[in-house]
């Protein structure tokens, strides 16, 4: 090594891994660049679609109780922002509580199952049973059991969230680098240490893949729950507006849900970028 200086090595690495270096040192510019290259095109498409919709509704003279124009929906939203924000917060709260509950139980189960084939074989069929049962069919039952408060909504959101987190958790906890595992075992590391030092971080890519799916699903779960016991939340807003043929309000609720969905997805992506900077998936400009 004597004949090559350290600086030469640095130069070499920088030349060999330009994008990887960017990922670490160019963080801020990267975010800005992504904003420009992703947000602008999608905003452009969105505005174009809204204009098309507006023109079509006005041109065809479609009655507002069938399909309101975007301008009607936006003015309804704008006129009662507090109302939609309040109801949206209720739904979001139920969804997040359900997600935390579902993912928490799933990760606990995955921890047990990753350590014991016996537990995996006995618990997995049960989990599959939960998964294949249509949630919509169970929802009325949950209302009977847990009343008309937030509990049935949280449970439905939790049930929907549960399975992806469980399966990916088990796979993730098991997908460890065999060399790293051998190294820890050669140090006589305890199961707990292997779990915390190796299995949990190794599972992160799998867990985030699950969360990307199950977080939007948890919102769906909360809305479905609200359909059955309509008093609060965007689901109940939709039911009430529907029976009144109040399409602007119904679409306002849908827009709010879409907004919540986008926000949550972006949030997961941002956290994922932070946590998984070391993973292959972060090396490309994926948003």
């Amino acid at each position: 090594m004597e004949q090559i200086s350290v600086d030469e090595i640095v130069q070499e690495i920088r030349a060999a891994y330009p994008s990887k270096r960017l990922a670490l040192h160019g963080g801020r510019f990267r975010i800005l660049g992504l904003a420009v290259s992703y947000v602008i095109p999608s905003a452009f498409a969105l505005v174009l679609a809204a204009i098309g919709w507006q023109v079509w509704v006005r041109f065809k003279d479609i009655p507002i109780y069938i399909l309101p124009a975007p301008s009607d929906v936006l003015s309804r939203l704008w006129g009662d922002l507090g109302f939609f924000a309040r109801e949206g917060a209720v739904t979001l709260g139920e969804a997040m509580a359900g997600f935390v509950l579902g993912a928490g139980v799933a990760l606990f189960g995955a921890t047990l199952m990753a350590h014991s084939r016996f537990l995996e074989r006995s618990l997995l069929p049960l989990a599959v049973l939960v998964k294949v049962t249509p949630i919509v069919a169970v929802a009325p039952l949950l209302v009977i059991w847990f009343g008309f408060g937030v509990m049935p909504k949280i449970f439905i959101a939790a049930l929907i969230t549960f399975f992806p987190s469980l399966v990916n958790g088990v796979t993730g906890f098991r997908s460890v680098n065999p060399g790293a595992l051998d190294f820890l075992r050669s140090l006589r590391a305890s199961r707990r240490e292997v779990f915390l030092l190796l299995r949990v971080p190794s599972a992160m890519p799998y867990l985030f893949a699950a969360f990307r799916v199950s977080i939007p699903l948890s919102v769906i779960g909360a809305v479905v729950g609200e359909w059955f016991t309509a008093d609060r939340g965007l689901g109940s807003v939709i039911i009430v507006a529907h029976s009144n043929l109040d399409m602007p309000t119904l679409f306002g609720a849908i827009f709010t849900l879409a907004f919540i969905g986008i926000g949550l997805t972006l949030l997961v992506s941002l956290i994922e970028r932070r946590v998984l900077f070391w993973h292959e998936s972060s090396f490309m400009g994926r948003w």
């Binding site: 690495i13 990887k20 680098n177 050669s186 070391w278």
Partner: protein
């Protein structure tokens, strides 16, 4: 140079002794005998290589020595204790073919990993890791992540990680196998330099004849299927060794000898003279 010079016994005090170790694997198709009746002693501070064709059971033997695998019969003693006790004593440092670093940890944190296990913080953790970093020439890269390093640098981190908790016995399984020829040659002498300073006992698995000759005090040649020790060759080359040696006549003799041993042209215990 005679083959029967080579000995299965250690020249000094035995640090590692392998006694009649056999290992069979039961697969759905057949019962495979990976290792048969391996007996070998390794002296304290000795550098021994295990040389053999692919699939002859080198990794299996190393994993048995390191307590990662139980032999079907026979026994292994490290310092007179079982491999599992040696693990608990933190007496074993493993380096694998792949660096096997934790990609979410920086270079320093990877080297610190063994010090965190069992909460056995050394008195001078920082000092040790700093020492290791400069020993493997990576002081400048302490806060880099593995994906920002070249393969050879990653392997040096793995070496530093194995040395960080000061194990007396280093077990290396083709540590340079994934590297290109140039890096490999550099790493060879880097390892020799480190071994000179640290005075560890090293068991080095390889299928490179050059590597085996340049590094070792002795080379155990394994035959395959079943894996047995064909012979043990003493490498009587002066130390410290340098690259010039690779072009010397003595080196070529050893090279030819090991080559024909590997190719199966030499019967067990046959005489060799030059």
């Amino acid at each position: 140079m005679t083959l029967h010079n080579g000995s299965f016994r250690a020249n000094g005090e035995a640090h590692l002794s392998i006694a009649q170790v056999s290992k069979g694997f039961v697969t759905p198709q057949e019962e495979l005998i990976a290792l048969q009746d391996i007996t070998l002693e390794v002296g304290r501070g000795e550098f021994i290589s295990i040389l053999g064709p692919s699939g002859c059971g080198k990794s299996t033997l190393l994993r048995i020595i390191g307590g990662l695998l139980e032999p079907t019969s026979g026994s292994v003693a490290v310092n007179g204790r079982s491999p599992r006790e040696a693990q608990a004593d933190k007496a074993l440092g493993f380096v694998f073919q792949e660096p096997s670093l934790l990609p979410w940890r920086t270079v320093v944190d990877n080297i610190c990993l063994p010090l965190e296990v069992n909460n056995r913080h050394h008195r001078d953790t920082r000092y040790t890791t700093e020492g290791m970093l400069s020993l493997v020439g990576l002081g400048r890269f302490r806060n880099y992540y593995p994906f920002q390093l070249s393969g050879g640098m990653q392997q040096r981190v793995a070496l530093a990680r194995a040395l960080a908790f000061d194990p007396a016995l280093l077990l290396m399984d083709e540590p340079f196998g994934a590297l290109d020829e140039i890096t490999r040659a550099t790493m060879r002498y880097e390892l020799l330099r480190i071994w000179d300073r640290e005075k560890k006992t090293v068991v080095f698995v390889t299928h490179s004849i050059i590597e085996a000759i340049i590094l070792s005090d002795r080379v155990a040649v394994l035959s395959s299927q079943p894996g047995r020790i064909k012979t043990v060759v003493d490498i009587n080359l002066p130390r410290p060794r340098s690259e010039g040696l690779e072009r010397g006549e003595a080196f070529l003799d050893y090279s030819n000898l090991l080559h024909s041993l590997l190719m199966g042209g030499v019967k067990n215990g046959a005489n060799f003279s030059r």
